[in-house]
Amino acid sequence: MKLVYFAWVRERIGREAEDVDPPGEVKTVADLLQWLKDRGEGYAAALEHPKVIRVAINHEHVDHQTTLPRDGEIALFPPMTGG
């Protein structure tokens, strides 16, 4: 699955996007955040407070209980500050 990062999530992780292949037990958005957190210092810093992280699947906001899709683009970012 393709992950994309924005704003300080992107800066802390140190990349804009990547392809990942999480194990089978990673079923929900919450599972994915937990799994990513252990991938290194940048991830740990970005995902320190997972509840704050907003998530979109294929360009639509979802909550952390949402089941991950088989494929598609999953975006992680801080609360939005547009307008």
């Binding site: 704003a7 360009h59 906001h61 975006a75 801080p78 307008g83």
Partner: protein, 155 residues
């Protein structure tokens, strides 16, 4: 709604008068046009510029969803949302909402609703570049009051 929302996500500026004309020129059924222009402030001289990051593709899709919801709730003859991204300096425009309707309340409420939703739902993030070049850029934090503002619109 008579006409499809006009949505643009762009680096460049917009022309307020041209956007108002788009929704009203030659129209005899439009009784009210409301515009909201959001601009970059210098925070009493502390800010050199904003850097607006966005999520291409989702920004347009999410604004379209918000616009569709406004068009479903209010009787509008036209609706435009333009949101800029990239470096924006104090005094420059950031966002434009234009609503047109036969009646004033629909145009005013829809503009208010659109701004509340753009603030908290459209995938844009503001980074402040301080006037003091030595200081690092700082991501603007979301305000609880912006989230609260959405509660007003829950049906």
């Amino acid at each position: 709604m008579d006409c499809a929302p006009h949505i643009r996500v762009q680096a460049g500026d917009f022309d307020l008068a041209a956007e108002v004309n788009r929704l009203s020129a030659g129209r005899k059924d439009v009784g009210a046009v409301v515009t909201f222009t959001g601009r970059c402030r210098d925070e009493d001289g502390r800010l050199a510029a904003l850097e607006l990051e966005h999520y291409p593709g989702m920004a347009e899709a999410e604004i379209a969803r918000i616009a569709r919801e406004a068009a479903d709730r209010w009787s509008l003859s036209g609706l435009t949302v333009i949101h800029r991204y990239g470096r924006i300096e104090p005094g420059e425009n950031i966002v434009l909402v234009v609503t047109a309707s036969s009646h004033r309340k629909a145009a005013l409420e829809a503009a208010d609703f659109l701004m509340d939703y753009l603030k908290s739902r459209a995938p844009f993030w503001k980074k402040e570049h301080p006037a003091t070049a030595a200081e690092p850029g700082r991501w603007v934090e979301a305000k609880a009051e912006d989230e609260d503002a959405l509660a007003r619109w829950k049906k």
